[in-house]
Every structure is written in C-alpha cells, then in structure tokens.
Amino acid sequence: MIQKPIISAAEAAAKIKPGDVVHVGGFLGCGSPDAIIAAIVSAGVDGLTLVCNDTGIYNEAKGVSNGPAPLVQAKAFKTMIVSHIGTNPETQRQMNSGESEVVLVPQGTLAERIRAAGNGLGGVLTPTGVGTEVEEGKRKLTLKGKDYLLEEALSGDVAIIKAKKADKAGNLVYAKTARNFNPLMATACGTVIVEAEEIVEVGAIDPDQVHTPSIFVDFIVQAE
C-alpha cells in the first residue's frame, strides 16, 4: 500500500496559499486540527475562504480560543461560509465592520453541499430554508408538490481535518463526536491533510473499522 508523507504542521500550513478555499473539520472545537490551525496563524496566510461548521469558540475572559477562532482573530479569512458564529464575537465584529464576509448556511445544507462536492454531484435539492432568507437568489423546484432549493456543491482547495488514528496509507478512524464534518471534507478538496492523534502501521486498523478510505488523504501530521 502506498504510504503518505508524514509532514510537520508548518509544512502543512505551507501548502495553503493566499486566496485558497480551506475546509476545516470540527464542531465548536471538537475534532479540529489544532496544530495545523496554529501553524497557519504563524505562517500569516490571509485572504482565505473558510468552510467550517462554525468559527469556533472565543472567550478572552476564560482563555478559550478553539476551532478556527485563532485564524479568525488573525484576520486570515476574507469569507467565512459557516452555519454558526454565535460563540465567536470577533466574527460578528468583522462581519459588521465589513472586514470579512460571512455566509450563513444551514448546518445540514452545509454538510450536504460538501458531501455533493466529494461525490460528483453538482448540488442537492433540500426543503431546508424554503420560505426564509436562505432561498434568496436560489433556484426553487417543486417535485411531487413539495418545494426544494437547489444548493450547489461546495468544494475546496485544501481540507485540514482531525482523526483519532491514521495508518501510514491514510486510512482514518475518528473519535466519538469529533467525527462531524471531517469525513465529508476529506472527499471534497484538492489536497487533504489529516492531523492524527496516533499514526500506526499499514494493516494495524481493522478494514471494517475504517471511516475514511486512504485514497482521500494526501498528507499526515502528527497531532501535538
């Protein structure tokens, strides 16, 4: 089995170019590739478009900054495509001041748009958002008497995701609720970098237990 390069978080960050669309796994910091996020902050890349469930939790008083929050604080994003920004006041500030654009997408629609991108579909038809602001500018179709919105596939240049375990070929296993968007993003981006808590030999993961097949993964980073 072909083995994937094991690289440092800094080397992973260097694969992200200004202007890239970056998919970031995790849900309110649970299942986020924290070491790679920190390395991108250090590298100072900006002008990025974020695709993520949320913009992380940022609470200065409690000393909490998780998920993509460190990148938001570093003003790395010109656009953020997310379902929730309520736990990071800096996102709201940048949105209100016009420094960044925030595109709010219903969570299930976000998941499905990413899944579509990785599965060769141009988009999906969903009833979610019909009759709300979400339908503005979108095509509406009526099938068997029910209204649906056409939501287009959402691919990315680079996905940075987090796994509990990776074998050296790139087969991945996620932990508990840290799975969330990670396996979807692994299918939807040109370059996929996984940050794994544990890296094991090829064959050490039971093939029945693999969540993401190795072919989706390009690079592996050891989590700190």
């Binding site: 949105m95 969903t126 019909v130 709300t132 508990k176 609720t177 990670n182």
Partner: protein, 220 residues
C-alpha cells in the same frame, strides 16, 4: 387578578409528556435541554444530537468529561449503551429524512401560521441558524418552547413574525408557561392551561388569535 410569573420548569415538564417510548427526539440548546430532565419514568426516548450522535446521556461528573464527546452546544455529555456516533451528513439525513419524531426549539417569535423566528435579530444579534432550519423543516413534529411573555410584557406569540424566519409553516405545537397550544387553521388553539392562568386570561394576554379547544382542560 392573576400576575404572570416566568416558569421554565412547567414548559419542560409538559413537553416531556408528549413523548412515547422509542421516540427519537432532538432538544435544542437552553430551555429545550431542560426537557430531558422530566421524561416520565417508564418512557425511554432516544435523544439525537445534530453534531453526530444518538443515545445522548447525562452530563458526566466533574473530572470525567471527554473532550471528544460533546453535544451540539459543545458541552460535555455521555452516551448510553446502544448509542452511536455518525458524521454530519448522516446526522442531517436522520433529521431531514423524517426520522426524528420531535424537535424542541427555543423561540424569538412564533406566529399563528406556524412560522418560527429564532436565529437572527438583524443588526443586533446574528448567531446563525446552526442546525435549526434543518430540524424544523425535517422533523415529524416541531415543538416551540417559550415563556409566554417577554420581560417587557409583550407576547412571544404573534399574529405574524417580524424577524427573519427559521422556517415557514412548520411549527405544530407551542408550549409556554401558561398553556399548550396547537397551530391550526391560522390560529393558536389552546389545548391545556396551567393554573393559576385561565383560558380567559390566556386569550387576553396573547398577541395573536387564540381559540379555546372544545376539550381544553387544566394540565396537572
């Protein structure tokens, strides 16, 4: 003279009585989460959390939290035997696919046409919809949980929502701290009232069209 006093517990207590064993239920953040504490003995519901699990158990003891095991609000939880984890596409497949029996959500405004607004106050508060739009559009029954009156004294139940909608015409049941309503034919229908409030008081203190159901009774 009846004086209105906010009472979130009665809301949670009444909502919990809708469930039957085997129902799949999604509870939103805040007041809806309280519903889990009042499920009657002998009734076993399966709690689903949209970040990717079902079989949601109680919060773990202090010191036993697992950072990889959280609910949709990012708070530590546990998983009951028989529970399982899945990714976000499966999670919303469960939700949108009509496999959730009840979703319970908080309210900024709810109107007599079953419209719900709970994710945005333009120019003031824009947390985002998270999973709420999918939950409301996809669940079999949508329960809106809210105190009856604002701190200012104005009704949370409206003729028509003025805030951006989370979903149109999807709310089936509204439970407040004065009674429980169904949404029917463009009106709120009072099904039960909670003492000390009376149907007359409720009709007078609701900023929407309310009809009292023929079998309306006091909830005990």
């Amino acid at each position: 003279m009846i004086e209105y006093v906010e009472n979130k517990e009665i809301i949670a207590r009444r909502i919990a009585r809708f469930f039957a064993s085997g129902d799949v239920v999604n509870l939103g953040i805040g007041l809806p989460t309280m519903v889990g504490n009042f499920v009657p003995e002998g009734v076993t519901v399966i709690l689903q959390s949209e970040n990717g699990m079902m079989g949601l158990g109680p919060a773990p003891e202090k010191g036993k939290e697992d950072p990889m095991l959280v609910n949709a609000g990012g708070m530590p939880v546990s998983i009951l035997p028989g529970g399982c984890f899945f990714d976000s596409a499966m999670s919303f497949g469960i939700i949108r696919g009509g496999h959730v029996d009840y979703t319970v959500l908080g309210v900024l405004e709810v109107d007599q046409d079953g419209n719900l607004a709970n994710y945005k106050i333009p120019g003031k508060m824009v947390p985002g919809m998270g999973g709420a739009m999918d939950l409301v559009a996809g669940s079999k029954k949508v329960i809106a949980a809210t105190t009856h009156l604002e701190k200012s004294g104005s009704s949370k139940l409206k003729h028509r929502c003025s805030l951006p909608l989370t979903a149109a015409h999807e709310v089936d049941i509204v439970v407040t701290d004065v009674g429980y309503f169904t949404v029917k034919d463009g009106k709120f229908r009072l099904e039960e009232y909670f003492a000390p409030y009376t149907p007359e008081w409720i009709v007078e203190h609701t900023g929407a069209d309310v009809v009292v159901a023929p079998g309306c009774k006091e909830f005990k």
